[in-house]
């Protein structure tokens, strides 16, 4: 860890000066977004300070119950966020599918990643469990959000085509195949794009963080590769489960389209 520059308080304060300069520029250009910039900066600061203290506490008092509690909070927040931020009103059935696919998809990825790939000990070690779970859950949340939007939007805008397919004897699966495929593509695309640009266009956040804190770049890269594959797997798995179960909520038992006129 030698040679690591621990940021002093005045150094951290200097980074806020940067934002103050930005505010002047924004104001001068007549872009009325000062409030959002200030609020989001303050919010981010408070959230991170709290998280920092919380993590210090959790790391010093590692306890399986605490780790599980944190994961549960992350999952609940992620599911709530997906449902709340959707621009469509989701049906009860679809909300349930969001929860099921998030829980099943992310938890199985987290377990595989922690116990097979990294092989942590003790099993609840918060130093590994919490950040890795956070990355998998966060990315899967973004993936499902995109999947939800594309699925619901597709079902409504292409409703006529879906129904015409049913009239010809298509199964609900066959009738919604194109919409489901499109939704999968758009949900998985951001992850694929970030993998393609990785190391060339940008250095990923986790790796940057590890390097700055003194870890050897080789170790950081090994972790980064593993976590990227974990993220891809987790996003794909959650989205596949979501879409596989989700399209069915638009049909009833008689294979009739179940959405309002």
């Amino acid at each position: 860890m030698e040679g690591v520059i621990d940021l002093q308080l005045w150094q951290l304060a200097a980074s806020y000066v940067f934002i103050v300069i930005l505010l002047f520029i924004v104001k001068a250009r007549g872009i009325s977004r000062e409030k959002e910039i200030i609020v989001s900066s303050i919010r981010m600061t408070l959230q991170l300070i709290l998280t920092g203290y919380l993590l210090v506490y959790l790391f010093n008092n590692s306890n399986p119950l605490y780790t599980l509690l944190v994961i549960a909070i992350m999952e609940v927040f992620a599911i709530y966020n997906i449902i709340k931020r959707s621009k469509f009103k989701l049906s009860k059935g679809l909300k349930r599918i969001v929860a099921i696919s998030m829980l099943f998809g992310t938890l199985s990825s987290i377990l595989y990643f922690l116990f097979v790939v990294v092989n942590i000990s003790p099993w609840y070690n918060p130093r590994y469990f919490i950040p890795i779970a956070g990355m998998l859950i966060g990315n899967s949340m973004t993936g499902i959000s995109l999947g939800v939007t594309r699925l619901v939007d597709g079902m409504y805008t292409k409703r006529y085509l879906v129904e015409s397919a049913l009239m010809l004897g298509a199964t609900p699966k066959g009738a919604s195949k194109e919409i489901v495929d499109n939704a999968f593509d758009s949900a998985i695309l951001p992850t694929i794009n970030s993998m393609v640009g990785m190391g060339i266009v940008f250095l990923p956040g986790m790796m940057t963080g590890q390097i700055l804190s003194g870890t050897s770049p080789v170790t950081s890269i090994k972790y980064q590769i593993a976590i990227m594959l974990g993220i891809l797997g987790s996003v794909a798995l959650t989205v596949i489960i979501f879409l596989h179960l989700g399209y069915k909520t638009f049909f009833n038992d008689e294979s009739q389209l179940n959405i309002g006129e």
């Binding site: 009239m167 298509a170 066959g174």
Partner: protein, 207 residues
């Protein structure tokens, strides 16, 4: 083929008894809002009635799997659905949806001739006019060779001459193969000259 008993659907349909015979041509006529399309959708099991019972080949609808039924009793909606891609893709998509074997290009050309469409199989289906799209959708349904064809104003986007030519070809095609044809039409002339049975619906009435 079909027997409808005491059918109620919202405040749109209220039918005491109605029969459609096998291998016959029936036309459904009536003012707009009288439930013509709703009746077809019921027969296709795309919607379920609120009361009463529909029988297909003496079997109550509730004991027939919807998808299996629709593969025998195919419906053509009034506004044609075009799925992107070529004319060939659009003709074949019905067979794909219905999980039936794909046919040769020769058969497709035969169908294009039947619906009087002088186009190439690889032409872009999106670029066709409304009337041409309607004929593609009609061709798609004929290609599936279903037991029953439910057609919702299959000629609404066609001029009168083409309309008569196509309906005539369609009717003789279904008669030759012993298929059942149930067709909604706005044209009393077509109903009068081609059908074995005319069902006239009016707003919120009993028959």
């Amino acid at each position: 083929m079909f027997l409808l008993k005491d059918i109620k659907y919202k405040d749109i349909l209220d039918i005491k008894e109605l029969k459609f015979e096998e291998s016959k041509v029936a036309c459904i006529v009536g003012e707009s809002g009288s439930g013509k399309t709703t009746l077809l959708r019921l027969l296709n099991k795309l919607i379920s009635c609120d009361g009463g019972e529909i029988f297909y080949k003496n079997k109550p609808f509730k004991h027939i799997n919807s998808v299996d039924l629709r593969r025998e009793v195919v419906m053509l909606p009034q506004a044609p659905a075009i799925y992107g891609g070529s004319i060939k893709d659009n003709l074949l998509i019905g067979l794909k949806f219905g999980e039936k074997p794909i046919v040769s290009d020769e058969r497709l050309l035969e169908i294009l001739r039947l619906v009087k469409l002088n186009k190439g199989l690889n032409d872009d289906a999106d670029k066709l006019s409304g009337g041409e799209k309607q004929r593609i959708a009609l061709g798609r349904v004929i290609l599936m060779e279903p037991e029953v064809l439910l057609l919702d104003e299959p000629s609404s986007a066609l001029d009168e001459d083409t309309e008569e030519l196509i309906i005539e070809a369609l009717v003789s095609y279904t008669r030759n193969r012993g298929k059942t044809l149930i067709m909604v039409t706005h044209s009393k002339k077509i109903a009068g000259s081609f059908s074995d049975k005319i069902v006239e619906l009016s707003k919120r009435d009993s028959y």
